[in-house]
Symmetry: C4
Subunit: 123 residues, 4 copies
Protein backbone atom coordinates (compact mmCIF):
# COMPACT_ATOMS: atom_id res chain seq x y z
CA UNK A 1 0.00 0.00 0.00
CA UNK A 2 1.26 3.46 -0.90
CA UNK A 3 0.19 6.62 0.89
CA UNK A 4 1.24 10.15 0.12
CA UNK A 5 1.96 12.72 -2.56
CA UNK A 6 5.07 14.05 -4.31
CA UNK A 7 4.48 17.81 -3.95
CA UNK A 8 3.84 19.60 -0.68
CA UNK A 9 3.79 23.15 0.63
CA UNK A 10 3.90 24.74 4.08
CA UNK A 11 2.85 28.38 3.85
CA UNK A 12 3.78 29.21 7.43
CA UNK A 13 7.42 29.38 8.42
CA UNK A 14 9.10 31.22 11.30
CA UNK A 15 11.99 30.06 13.47
CA UNK A 16 11.69 32.00 16.73
CA UNK A 17 15.00 33.63 17.69
CA UNK A 18 16.10 31.82 20.83
CA UNK A 19 18.98 31.14 23.20
CA UNK A 20 21.28 28.59 21.51
CA UNK A 21 22.33 27.24 24.92
CA UNK A 22 18.92 25.65 25.49
CA UNK A 23 18.75 21.86 25.23
CA UNK A 24 17.84 20.54 21.78
CA UNK A 25 14.41 19.24 22.81
CA UNK A 26 13.29 22.61 24.15
CA UNK A 27 14.96 25.18 21.92
CA UNK A 28 12.47 26.93 19.65
CA UNK A 29 12.33 25.21 16.27
CA UNK A 30 10.23 24.33 13.26
CA UNK A 31 10.12 20.90 11.66
CA UNK A 32 8.80 19.18 8.57
CA UNK A 33 8.01 15.59 9.51
CA UNK A 34 8.58 13.48 6.39
CA UNK A 35 7.13 9.96 6.26
CA UNK A 36 8.27 7.65 3.47
CA UNK A 37 6.11 4.53 3.73
CA UNK A 38 7.25 3.24 0.35
CA UNK A 39 9.91 0.61 -0.34
CA UNK A 40 12.23 3.06 -2.16
CA UNK A 41 14.39 5.85 -0.73
CA UNK A 42 12.82 9.30 -1.13
CA UNK A 43 15.01 12.01 -2.64
CA UNK A 44 13.50 15.19 -1.27
CA UNK A 45 14.16 18.75 -2.44
CA UNK A 46 13.03 21.76 -0.40
CA UNK A 47 12.76 25.32 -1.68
CA UNK A 48 12.45 28.14 0.86
CA UNK A 49 10.43 31.26 -0.07
CA UNK A 50 10.81 34.65 1.59
CA UNK A 51 8.87 37.91 1.69
CA UNK A 52 11.61 40.11 0.31
CA UNK A 53 14.00 38.10 -1.87
CA UNK A 54 14.22 35.22 -4.33
CA UNK A 55 13.75 31.63 -3.09
CA UNK A 56 16.74 29.67 -1.79
CA UNK A 57 17.44 26.01 -2.47
CA UNK A 58 17.04 23.25 -3.18
CA UNK A 59 17.95 21.80 0.18
CA UNK A 60 18.36 18.08 -0.42
CA UNK A 61 17.41 15.29 1.98
CA UNK A 62 17.13 11.52 1.61
CA UNK A 63 14.45 9.74 3.63
CA UNK A 64 15.10 6.01 3.55
CA UNK A 65 12.55 3.43 2.48
CA UNK A 66 10.08 2.74 5.33
CA UNK A 67 11.53 5.53 7.46
CA UNK A 68 10.44 8.86 8.92
CA UNK A 69 12.57 11.96 9.26
CA UNK A 70 11.58 14.88 11.48
CA UNK A 71 13.62 17.52 9.73
CA UNK A 72 14.29 20.73 11.64
CA UNK A 73 14.47 23.82 9.47
CA UNK A 74 16.97 25.08 12.07
CA UNK A 75 19.37 22.36 10.89
CA UNK A 76 19.32 23.20 7.18
CA UNK A 77 22.66 24.69 6.16
CA UNK A 78 23.29 23.94 2.50
CA UNK A 79 23.08 26.13 0.45
CA UNK A 80 22.66 28.48 3.48
CA UNK A 81 21.08 28.55 6.97
CA UNK A 82 17.48 29.70 7.23
CA UNK A 83 17.42 33.03 9.06
CA UNK A 84 15.72 33.11 12.46
CA UNK A 85 13.02 35.68 13.14
CA UNK A 86 12.10 35.99 9.43
CA UNK A 87 8.91 34.84 7.69
CA UNK A 88 9.35 32.04 5.17
CA UNK A 89 7.41 29.27 3.38
CA UNK A 90 8.55 25.95 1.95
CA UNK A 91 7.78 23.77 -1.06
CA UNK A 92 8.79 20.14 -0.79
CA UNK A 93 9.20 17.74 -3.71
CA UNK A 94 9.93 14.02 -3.52
CA UNK A 95 10.52 11.39 -6.20
CA UNK A 96 8.29 8.90 -4.35
CA UNK A 97 5.07 9.60 -2.42
CA UNK A 98 5.61 10.93 1.09
CA UNK A 99 3.45 12.51 3.81
CA UNK A 100 4.43 15.87 5.33
CA UNK A 101 3.37 17.45 8.62
CA UNK A 102 4.51 20.81 9.95
CA UNK A 103 5.25 21.59 13.61
CA UNK A 104 6.67 24.46 15.66
CA UNK A 105 7.83 24.46 19.25
CA UNK A 106 8.15 27.97 20.64
CA UNK A 107 9.92 28.30 23.99
CA UNK A 108 10.81 32.00 23.87
CA UNK A 109 8.08 33.16 26.17
CA UNK A 110 6.03 31.17 28.66
CA UNK A 111 3.06 33.48 28.16
CA UNK A 112 1.97 32.47 24.67
CA UNK A 113 -0.33 29.89 23.10
CA UNK A 114 -0.32 28.98 19.39
CA UNK A 115 -2.64 27.34 16.90
CA UNK A 116 -2.27 26.68 13.18
CA UNK A 117 -3.96 24.83 10.35
CA UNK A 118 -3.77 24.61 6.61
CA UNK A 119 -6.78 26.57 5.36
CA UNK A 120 -9.65 24.93 3.43
CA UNK A 121 -9.77 24.86 -0.36
CA UNK A 122 -11.90 22.98 -2.87
CA UNK A 123 -11.05 24.80 -6.12
CA UNK B 1 5.78 23.33 -11.03
CA UNK B 2 2.67 25.00 -9.67
CA UNK B 3 1.20 24.27 -6.25
CA UNK B 4 -1.93 25.71 -4.73
CA UNK B 5 -5.50 26.78 -5.31
CA UNK B 6 -7.32 30.03 -6.06
CA UNK B 7 -10.10 29.87 -3.43
CA UNK B 8 -9.52 29.41 0.28
CA UNK B 9 -11.49 29.75 3.49
CA UNK B 10 -10.59 30.02 7.19
CA UNK B 11 -13.68 29.40 9.31
CA UNK B 12 -12.01 30.37 12.57
CA UNK B 13 -11.17 34.00 13.23
CA UNK B 14 -10.66 35.84 16.52
CA UNK B 15 -8.14 38.55 17.33
CA UNK B 16 -7.65 38.44 21.11
CA UNK B 17 -8.00 41.92 22.66
CA UNK B 18 -4.54 42.75 23.93
CA UNK B 19 -2.26 45.50 25.20
CA UNK B 20 -1.10 47.54 22.17
CA UNK B 21 2.16 48.36 23.95
CA UNK B 22 3.43 44.79 23.62
CA UNK B 23 6.21 44.20 21.09
CA UNK B 24 5.02 43.16 17.63
CA UNK B 25 6.33 39.60 17.85
CA UNK B 26 4.42 38.86 21.06
CA UNK B 27 1.20 40.84 20.78
CA UNK B 28 -1.82 38.58 20.21
CA UNK B 29 -2.58 38.29 16.51
CA UNK B 30 -3.97 36.14 13.75
CA UNK B 31 -2.28 35.66 10.39
CA UNK B 32 -2.98 34.18 6.98
CA UNK B 33 0.31 32.96 5.55
CA UNK B 34 0.08 33.32 1.77
CA UNK B 35 2.61 31.49 -0.41
CA UNK B 36 2.79 32.39 -4.09
CA UNK B 37 5.18 29.87 -5.67
CA UNK B 38 4.21 30.90 -9.19
CA UNK B 39 6.07 33.26 -11.52
CA UNK B 40 3.27 35.85 -11.59
CA UNK B 41 2.20 38.29 -8.89
CA UNK B 42 -0.89 37.14 -6.98
CA UNK B 43 -3.72 39.65 -6.64
CA UNK B 44 -5.51 38.51 -3.51
CA UNK B 45 -8.96 39.58 -2.27
CA UNK B 46 -10.13 38.79 1.25
CA UNK B 47 -13.74 38.94 2.46
CA UNK B 48 -14.40 38.94 6.21
CA UNK B 49 -17.60 37.30 7.52
CA UNK B 50 -19.18 38.06 10.88
CA UNK B 51 -21.85 36.50 13.09
CA UNK B 52 -24.15 39.49 13.18
CA UNK B 53 -23.69 41.67 10.11
CA UNK B 54 -22.95 41.57 6.37
CA UNK B 55 -19.44 40.67 5.18
CA UNK B 56 -16.80 43.39 4.80
CA UNK B 57 -14.29 43.67 1.97
CA UNK B 58 -12.62 42.97 -0.26
CA UNK B 59 -9.33 43.67 1.43
CA UNK B 60 -6.75 43.66 -1.35
CA UNK B 61 -3.18 42.36 -1.12
CA UNK B 62 -0.50 41.66 -3.71
CA UNK B 63 1.88 38.77 -3.07
CA UNK B 64 4.80 38.98 -5.46
CA UNK B 65 5.89 36.14 -7.73
CA UNK B 66 7.94 33.58 -5.75
CA UNK B 67 7.21 35.33 -2.48
CA UNK B 68 5.43 34.60 0.80
CA UNK B 69 3.43 37.08 2.84
CA UNK B 70 2.44 36.41 6.44
CA UNK B 71 -0.50 38.76 6.56
CA UNK B 72 -1.76 39.78 9.99
CA UNK B 73 -5.50 40.34 10.18
CA UNK B 74 -4.63 42.93 12.85
CA UNK B 75 -3.00 45.03 10.10
CA UNK B 76 -5.96 45.11 7.70
CA UNK B 77 -7.43 48.62 7.61
CA UNK B 78 -9.05 49.19 4.24
CA UNK B 79 -12.06 49.25 3.99
CA UNK B 80 -12.04 49.08 7.83
CA UNK B 81 -10.09 47.49 10.72
CA UNK B 82 -11.17 44.04 11.86
CA UNK B 83 -12.64 44.35 15.35
CA UNK B 84 -10.77 42.63 18.18
CA UNK B 85 -12.61 40.23 20.45
CA UNK B 86 -15.24 39.40 17.79
CA UNK B 87 -15.74 36.11 15.92
CA UNK B 88 -15.06 36.25 12.19
CA UNK B 89 -14.21 34.03 9.21
CA UNK B 90 -12.39 34.78 5.96
CA UNK B 91 -12.63 33.81 2.30
CA UNK B 92 -9.53 34.39 0.22
CA UNK B 93 -9.43 34.55 -3.58
CA UNK B 94 -6.34 34.85 -5.76
CA UNK B 95 -5.89 35.17 -9.52
CA UNK B 96 -3.02 32.64 -9.47
CA UNK B 97 -2.68 29.49 -7.32
CA UNK B 98 -1.49 30.15 -3.77
CA UNK B 99 -1.26 28.15 -0.53
CA UNK B 100 -2.85 29.50 2.67
CA UNK B 101 -2.14 28.58 6.29
CA UNK B 102 -3.81 30.10 9.34
CA UNK B 103 -2.10 30.89 12.65
CA UNK B 104 -2.94 32.61 15.93
CA UNK B 105 -0.59 33.70 18.69
CA UNK B 106 -2.44 34.41 21.93
CA UNK B 107 -0.45 36.17 24.65
CA UNK B 108 -3.31 37.49 26.75
CA UNK B 109 -3.06 34.88 29.46
CA UNK B 110 -0.16 32.57 30.32
CA UNK B 111 -2.57 29.90 31.54
CA UNK B 112 -4.05 28.75 28.24
CA UNK B 113 -3.24 26.19 25.55
CA UNK B 114 -4.83 26.13 22.08
CA UNK B 115 -5.32 23.68 19.26
CA UNK B 116 -7.08 23.99 15.91
CA UNK B 117 -7.55 22.15 12.65
CA UNK B 118 -9.67 22.37 9.57
CA UNK B 119 -12.26 19.60 9.97
CA UNK B 120 -12.46 16.59 7.63
CA UNK B 121 -14.76 16.50 4.62
CA UNK B 122 -15.06 14.21 1.62
CA UNK B 123 -18.40 15.30 0.14
CA UNK C 1 -18.64 31.87 -5.73
CA UNK C 2 -19.40 28.98 -3.39
CA UNK C 3 -16.89 27.40 -1.07
CA UNK C 4 -17.38 24.45 1.22
CA UNK C 5 -18.90 21.03 1.64
CA UNK C 6 -22.08 19.60 3.18
CA UNK C 7 -20.61 16.79 5.32
CA UNK C 8 -17.89 17.27 7.91
CA UNK C 9 -16.36 15.31 10.77
CA UNK C 10 -14.20 16.19 13.77
CA UNK C 11 -12.71 13.02 15.26
CA UNK C 12 -11.28 14.75 18.32
CA UNK C 13 -13.61 16.01 21.01
CA UNK C 14 -12.98 16.69 24.69
CA UNK C 15 -14.34 19.49 26.84
CA UNK C 16 -11.87 19.92 29.70
CA UNK C 17 -13.64 19.95 33.08
CA UNK C 18 -13.17 23.48 34.38
CA UNK C 19 -14.30 26.04 36.93
CA UNK C 20 -17.63 27.48 35.71
CA UNK C 21 -16.87 30.79 37.42
CA UNK C 22 -14.16 31.64 34.89
CA UNK C 23 -14.98 34.37 32.37
CA UNK C 24 -16.44 33.10 29.11
CA UNK C 25 -13.40 33.99 27.00
CA UNK C 26 -11.03 31.97 29.19
CA UNK C 27 -13.06 28.99 30.39
CA UNK C 28 -11.95 25.75 28.73
CA UNK C 29 -14.07 25.00 25.69
CA UNK C 30 -14.26 23.40 22.27
CA UNK C 31 -15.80 25.06 19.24
CA UNK C 32 -16.82 24.24 15.70
CA UNK C 33 -16.43 27.38 13.63
CA UNK C 34 -19.08 27.25 10.89
CA UNK C 35 -18.75 29.56 7.88
CA UNK C 36 -21.71 29.89 5.54
CA UNK C 37 -20.49 31.99 2.60
CA UNK C 38 -23.58 31.19 0.52
CA UNK C 39 -26.66 33.34 0.03
CA UNK C 40 -29.00 30.86 1.76
CA UNK C 41 -29.35 30.04 5.44
CA UNK C 42 -27.56 26.82 6.42
CA UNK C 43 -29.58 24.30 8.42
CA UNK C 44 -26.93 22.35 10.28
CA UNK C 45 -27.34 19.04 12.13
CA UNK C 46 -24.66 17.75 14.49
CA UNK C 47 -24.39 14.16 15.76
CA UNK C 48 -22.13 13.47 18.73
CA UNK C 49 -20.36 10.09 18.97
CA UNK C 50 -19.02 8.56 22.18
CA UNK C 51 -16.73 5.70 23.11
CA UNK C 52 -19.24 3.77 25.18
CA UNK C 53 -22.78 4.53 24.07
CA UNK C 54 -24.93 5.28 21.03
CA UNK C 55 -24.62 8.67 19.32
CA UNK C 56 -26.71 11.61 20.53
CA UNK C 57 -28.44 14.16 18.32
CA UNK C 58 -29.10 15.76 16.02
CA UNK C 59 -28.28 19.11 17.57
CA UNK C 60 -29.72 21.70 15.21
CA UNK C 61 -28.23 25.08 14.38
CA UNK C 62 -29.03 27.70 11.75
CA UNK C 63 -26.14 29.72 10.33
CA UNK C 64 -27.50 32.67 8.40
CA UNK C 65 -26.60 33.45 4.81
CA UNK C 66 -23.18 35.16 4.64
CA UNK C 67 -22.57 34.60 8.35
CA UNK C 68 -20.15 32.72 10.58
CA UNK C 69 -21.02 31.00 13.84
CA UNK C 70 -18.37 29.89 16.32
CA UNK C 71 -20.41 27.23 18.03
CA UNK C 72 -19.20 26.06 21.44
CA UNK C 73 -19.89 22.41 22.16
CA UNK C 74 -20.19 23.54 25.80
CA UNK C 75 -23.35 25.44 24.82
CA UNK C 76 -25.19 22.54 23.16
CA UNK C 77 -28.12 21.50 25.36
CA UNK C 78 -30.81 20.01 23.15
CA UNK C 79 -31.31 17.02 23.18
CA UNK C 80 -28.80 16.97 26.11
CA UNK C 81 -25.58 18.69 27.28
CA UNK C 82 -22.28 17.20 26.11
CA UNK C 83 -20.51 15.73 29.13
CA UNK C 84 -17.24 17.36 30.18
CA UNK C 85 -14.15 15.22 30.61
CA UNK C 86 -15.40 12.55 28.17
CA UNK C 87 -14.05 11.70 24.71
CA UNK C 88 -16.40 12.41 21.82
CA UNK C 89 -16.43 13.04 18.05
CA UNK C 90 -18.85 14.97 15.87
CA UNK C 91 -20.37 14.66 12.40
CA UNK C 92 -21.81 17.84 10.93
CA UNK C 93 -24.29 18.00 8.04
CA UNK C 94 -25.56 21.13 6.32
CA UNK C 95 -28.08 21.66 3.54
CA UNK C 96 -25.80 24.22 1.84
CA UNK C 97 -22.00 24.16 1.57
CA UNK C 98 -20.19 25.37 4.68
CA UNK C 99 -16.61 25.35 5.98
CA UNK C 100 -15.82 23.89 9.42
CA UNK C 101 -12.81 24.43 11.66
CA UNK C 102 -12.27 22.91 15.09
CA UNK C 103 -10.66 24.67 18.07
CA UNK C 104 -10.05 23.99 21.75
CA UNK C 105 -8.97 26.42 24.45
CA UNK C 106 -7.69 24.63 27.55
CA UNK C 107 -7.19 26.77 30.64
CA UNK C 108 -7.18 24.06 33.29
CA UNK C 109 -3.45 23.97 33.78
CA UNK C 110 -0.84 26.57 32.88
CA UNK C 111 1.76 23.87 32.32
CA UNK C 112 0.46 22.30 29.11
CA UNK C 113 0.88 22.84 25.37
CA UNK C 114 -1.38 21.30 22.71
CA UNK C 115 -1.26 20.55 19.01
CA UNK C 116 -3.76 18.90 16.70
CA UNK C 117 -4.39 18.25 13.03
CA UNK C 118 -6.66 16.20 10.87
CA UNK C 119 -4.52 13.30 9.66
CA UNK C 120 -3.63 12.77 5.98
CA UNK C 121 -5.66 10.51 3.70
CA UNK C 122 -5.76 9.99 -0.04
CA UNK C 123 -7.86 6.82 -0.32
CA UNK D 1 -24.41 8.56 5.32
CA UNK D 2 -20.79 7.44 5.38
CA UNK D 3 -17.89 9.75 6.09
CA UNK D 4 -14.21 8.88 6.08
CA UNK D 5 -11.44 6.96 4.40
CA UNK D 6 -9.70 3.62 4.93
CA UNK D 7 -6.04 4.74 4.79
CA UNK D 8 -4.53 7.46 6.96
CA UNK D 9 -1.10 8.72 7.91
CA UNK D 10 0.29 10.93 10.67
CA UNK D 11 3.82 12.03 9.79
CA UNK D 12 4.51 13.61 13.18
CA UNK D 13 4.98 11.39 16.22
CA UNK D 14 6.79 12.06 19.48
CA UNK D 15 5.77 11.02 22.99
CA UNK D 16 7.46 13.48 25.33
CA UNK D 17 9.35 11.69 28.12
CA UNK D 18 7.46 12.56 31.28
CA UNK D 19 6.92 11.71 34.93
CA UNK D 20 4.72 8.57 35.07
CA UNK D 21 3.28 9.70 38.41
CA UNK D 22 1.32 12.52 36.76
CA UNK D 23 -2.45 12.05 36.51
CA UNK D 24 -3.63 10.49 33.25
CA UNK D 25 -5.32 13.63 31.96
CA UNK D 26 -2.17 15.72 32.28
CA UNK D 27 0.70 13.34 31.53
CA UNK D 28 2.31 14.10 28.16
CA UNK D 29 0.80 11.93 25.45
CA UNK D 30 -0.08 11.61 21.79
CA UNK D 31 -3.39 10.31 20.51
CA UNK D 32 -5.04 9.24 17.29
CA UNK D 33 -8.74 10.02 17.57
CA UNK D 34 -10.58 7.41 15.51
CA UNK D 35 -14.22 8.04 14.54
CA UNK D 36 -16.21 5.16 13.11
CA UNK D 37 -19.55 6.65 12.01
CA UNK D 38 -20.52 3.51 10.07
CA UNK D 39 -22.80 0.72 11.21
CA UNK D 40 -20.03 -1.91 11.19
CA UNK D 41 -17.15 -2.40 13.59
CA UNK D 42 -13.86 -1.01 12.27
CA UNK D 43 -10.85 -3.34 12.42
CA UNK D 44 -7.92 -0.95 12.51
CA UNK D 45 -4.24 -1.77 11.95
CA UNK D 46 -1.50 0.72 12.84
CA UNK D 47 2.11 0.56 11.61
CA UNK D 48 4.72 2.69 13.38
CA UNK D 49 7.66 4.05 11.37
CA UNK D 50 10.97 5.16 12.87
CA UNK D 51 14.01 7.11 11.70
CA UNK D 52 16.54 4.37 12.29
CA UNK D 53 14.91 0.93 12.09
CA UNK D 54 12.24 -1.08 10.33
CA UNK D 55 8.57 -0.36 11.05
CA UNK D 56 6.82 -2.10 13.94
CA UNK D 57 3.29 -3.49 13.87
CA UNK D 58 0.56 -3.94 13.10
CA UNK D 59 -1.01 -2.75 16.32
CA UNK D 60 -4.64 -3.87 16.15
CA UNK D 61 -7.64 -1.98 17.49
CA UNK D 62 -11.39 -2.42 17.07
CA UNK D 63 -13.56 0.69 17.03
CA UNK D 64 -17.18 -0.30 17.41
CA UNK D 65 -19.93 0.73 15.02
CA UNK D 66 -21.03 4.34 15.74
CA UNK D 67 -18.25 4.83 18.27
CA UNK D 68 -15.14 6.98 18.71
CA UNK D 69 -11.88 5.88 20.25
CA UNK D 70 -9.22 8.36 21.35
CA UNK D 71 -6.28 6.00 21.20
CA UNK D 72 -3.15 7.02 23.08
CA UNK D 73 0.06 5.90 21.45
CA UNK D 74 1.41 5.70 25.02
CA UNK D 75 -0.98 2.79 25.62
CA UNK D 76 0.08 0.64 22.64
CA UNK D 77 1.96 -2.42 23.91
CA UNK D 78 1.49 -5.24 21.42
CA UNK D 79 3.80 -6.08 19.67
CA UNK D 80 5.88 -3.61 21.75
CA UNK D 81 5.58 -0.23 23.53
CA UNK D 82 6.35 2.87 21.49
CA UNK D 83 9.54 4.43 22.85
CA UNK D 84 9.23 7.86 24.47
CA UNK D 85 11.47 10.67 23.29
CA UNK D 86 11.92 9.15 19.81
CA UNK D 87 10.58 10.43 16.48
CA UNK D 88 7.99 8.21 14.80
CA UNK D 89 5.18 8.30 12.23
CA UNK D 90 2.08 6.15 11.86
CA UNK D 91 0.03 4.64 9.04
CA UNK D 92 -3.50 3.60 9.93
CA UNK D 93 -5.66 1.19 7.90
CA UNK D 94 -9.29 0.31 8.56
CA UNK D 95 -11.67 -2.11 6.85
CA UNK D 96 -14.48 0.48 6.96
CA UNK D 97 -14.22 4.26 6.47
CA UNK D 98 -13.08 6.15 9.55
CA UNK D 99 -11.90 9.69 10.32
CA UNK D 100 -8.55 10.26 12.08
CA UNK D 101 -7.29 13.29 13.99
CA UNK D 102 -3.93 13.62 15.71
CA UNK D 103 -3.31 15.39 19.04
CA UNK D 104 -0.45 15.87 21.47
CA UNK D 105 -0.56 17.18 25.02
CA UNK D 106 2.88 18.20 26.27
CA UNK D 107 3.17 18.92 29.99
CA UNK D 108 6.93 18.58 30.40
CA UNK D 109 7.66 22.27 30.49
CA UNK D 110 5.34 25.18 31.22
CA UNK D 111 7.36 27.45 28.95
CA UNK D 112 6.48 26.01 25.55
CA UNK D 113 3.79 26.54 22.92
CA UNK D 114 3.12 24.14 20.03
CA UNK D 115 1.42 24.22 16.66
CA UNK D 116 1.03 21.58 13.96
CA UNK D 117 -0.80 20.92 10.72
CA UNK D 118 -0.77 18.45 7.91
CA UNK D 119 0.97 20.26 5.03
CA UNK D 120 -0.81 21.12 1.77
CA UNK D 121 -0.67 18.87 -1.28
CA UNK D 122 -2.59 18.76 -4.54
CA UNK D 123 -0.50 16.33 -6.60
Amino acid sequence: MTIGKKHWAIAEGYIPPDDPAKPREFISHEAACLLNATDKDAHVKIMIYFSDREPVGPYEVVVGARRTQHLRFNDLNDPEPIPHGKDYSSVIESDVPIVVQHTRLDSRNAGIALLSTTAYSDS
